[in-house]
């Protein structure tokens, strides 16, 4: 039997990342935007754990503050995707018929549009901000969420207890809110986790091509772009934000996977 408990390393890591981002002002040794607090391009040292950038700013502080922006964007984007996607999928799954057909074909069509291009157009039109980025990323993540929600709802509606409850005359809307929704919640949680990972990835990618939060503030993606531009001077600069992004995505993906596996094993043991 596999070791299974409520504690998981990925969950712990997510909490840690969230906690550190929240506590950035307390934890940061320097002002993230203060220049020349150290020598430019200094490697990691006792004074600057992650080294400094081209303007002599403390990278640890910049990454701690950058995490706040990245995580904030990821969480808001995930929430937006959850709301749009769930409504989209629920409507399709509950209504069925031509509404379903139309909504799902729209999802297919949206997914055929290259994400980056959609982001390119919309963000260059309205400008990158902590408002526009989550909306764009959230919209991009909603069709996959809609598909997941739809298939979960369709499966759930076909199950014996729903058929029985419908036959006994319970109102459909009540049934969906009180019975179906709680049952698809674990699947939504998996999607939520995957979406958070995808959101961090998208934000990083957009920032990397210059469509992210504008200087002097910086998300992890922006820091990577700056670091990449100075890769010939030092590689510490790009290394730390890249590591932060990768670990965060890994944690969200692993957490989603973990819930999915425990969900599957619970189902198969019944």
């Amino acid at each position: 039997m596999k070791f299974k408990s409520r504690f998981s390393f990925s969950g712990f890591l997510i909490l840690l990342i969230l906690g550190v981002s929240l506590a950035a002002p307390i934890l940061s040794p320097y002002d993230p935007n203060a220049i020349a607090v150290g020598e430019p391009f200094a490697g990691p040292s006792g004074k600057h754990w992650f080294g400094t950038d081209d303007l002599g700013r403390d990278l640890l502080s910049r990454i701690l503050y950058g995490g706040r922006i990245t995580i904030l964007i990821a969480i808001s984007a995930t929430a937006i995707a959850l709301i749009i996607g769930t409504l989209w999928g629920l409507t399709a799954g509950v209504r069925r018929g031509w509404i379903d057909e139309f909504l799902m074909r729209t999802a297919d069509a949206t997914m055929a549009i290259p994400q980056i291009l959609f982001a390119l157009v919309s963000i260059s039109a309205v400008g990158a901000s902590v408002i526009s980025l989550p909306i764009v990323v959230g919209i991009l993540l909603s069709p996959t969420t809609a598909r997941m929600a739809r298939s979960a709802v369709v499966t759930e509606l076909a199950s014996d207890y729903v058929v029985a409850a419908t036959a006994s005359g319970i109102k459909r809307s009540r049934l969906i809110i009180s019975e179906v929704m709680p049952n698809i919640a674990p699947q939504l949680l998996v999607q939520l986790s995957i979406n958070a990972a995808a959101a961090v990835m998208l934000e990083a990618t957009l920032s990397f091509i210059g469509l992210g939060i504008q200087p002097p503030n910086a998300s992890w993606g922006t820091l990577m772009l700056q670091g990449y531009a100075k890769i010939w001077n030092t590689y510490w600069f790009v290394f730390f934000p890249a590591a932060a992004v990768t670990i965060t995505i890994l944690a969200f993906n692993a957490y989603g996977e973990r819930i999915r596996v425990s969900m599957d094993s619970r189902r198969s043991s019944i």
Partner: protein, 323 residues
């Protein structure tokens, strides 16, 4: 097969036309006036002149009419004119697309080769050390942004070892060797980004096929594990994987945007990014349309390929016999 093709083609066309409408709408919904954009922000115009220009551009007509005339022109190869350079978008795209297609080809080639090695290796003995190591790398690969892989390769092969250039492009027609040398890093970067998806899918599909009764029949014949793997399990898992591969080709086509940009390759991805900085929406629109068409075309072609590989789809069931 005919019926299958027809059904598949119809649904492709539906998705295509819906995405075309979405592209048209998204550009229209966004703030920013195409006429103003065309004139450039610095130009001062009177409201009257603006109105005249709008009428000339057909922007005062109903949206639906605009949509159809736009589609009509697109079908005739007219994707509009760049606000910035005044070149036809079709020409800009045509100039740049060979780079994107070449890169995509190499990326898919690398991903397919890696997957065909890694997935069978990991299914030979599920749960073994080899399987677990491949599993860890797959999870890691799914979590590293593509450009981070690119950065790692540039650090190692360009900065440290100085074996390969990190930026630039030479057309194939000019020098095959130089072209390939410049394509190595971007191709491997993209290939490694696509590989985990393919490995994961192929592995799952192979493990499922491994449970089939016909695999037991093959074992019962006395065949070796390798022969069963490559003669029975792999061909059967390739059928569903081809559909997945079609999707991956499609995603790669749009994913190369970032790779082209970071390695300085003049493909349509870089074109889109450059245009976005200049707010040259007509060009982005043209690139989007091109990529979407390729995306839908490849997924369609891979489904057809899937039908060619699977005799159940290829042949009609006319010759069924009864005992």
């Amino acid at each position: 097969m005919g019926k299958f093709l027809l059904r598949r083609a119809t649904s492709s066309l539906i998705v295509l036309s819906m995405s075309v409408v979405l592209v048209f709408m998204s550009i229209r919904i966004l703030p920013g006036d195409p006429v103003l954009a065309k004139l450039g922000a610095a130009t001062e115009v009177t409201p009257a002149a603006l109105k005249a220009l709008r009428e000339e551009a057909g922007l005062n007509r109903p949206l639906l009419v605009q949509l159809f005339s736009w589609i009509n022109r697109a079908l005739n190869g007219d994707l509009g004119v760049s606000y910035f350079s005044q070149f036809p978008v079709t020409r800009l795209v045509a100039e740049r697309i060979p780079v994107t297609l070449e890169l995509t080809f190499f990326i898919i080639l690398i991903a397919v080769v890696f997957s065909l090695i890694l997935a069978p290796l990991s299914t030979l003995k599920p749960g073994s050390i080899v399987d677990r190591v491949i599993g860890y790398f797959t999870s890691l690969g799914l979590s590293i942004p593509g450009f981070v892989i690119g950065i790692i390769f540039i650090l190692i092969f360009s900065l440290q070892l100085q074996w390969l250039p990190s930026r630039g492009y030479v057309p194939l027609s000019q020098s095959v060797g130089d072209n390939l040398r410049l394509m190595i890093l971007p191709s491997i970067t993209g290939g490694l980004t696509a590989t985990p998806y393919l490995v994961r899918y192929l592995r799952a599909s192979m493990l499922e096929i491994k449970q089939s009764p016909f695999v037991r029949t093959a074992e019962g014949k006395g065949l070796s594990n390798w022969r069963i793997l490559f003669r029975h399990i792999l061909p059967n898992s390739l059928v569903p994987t081809l559909t997945m591969l079609g999707l991956i080709v499609g995603y790669t086509l749009s994913g190369v945007v970032v790779i082209e940009y970071m390695f300085g390759l003049p493909g349509i991805g870089s074109l889109a990014i450059e245009s976005s900085f200049k707010r040259d929406y007509v060009v982005i629109q043209g690139v989007a349309l091109t990529i979407i068409s390729f995306f839908i075309l490849t997924t369609f072609l891979f489904d057809v390929l899937c039908g060619l590989v699977d005799p159940r789809l290829r042949l009609t069931k006319e010759q069924k016999s009864e005992v």
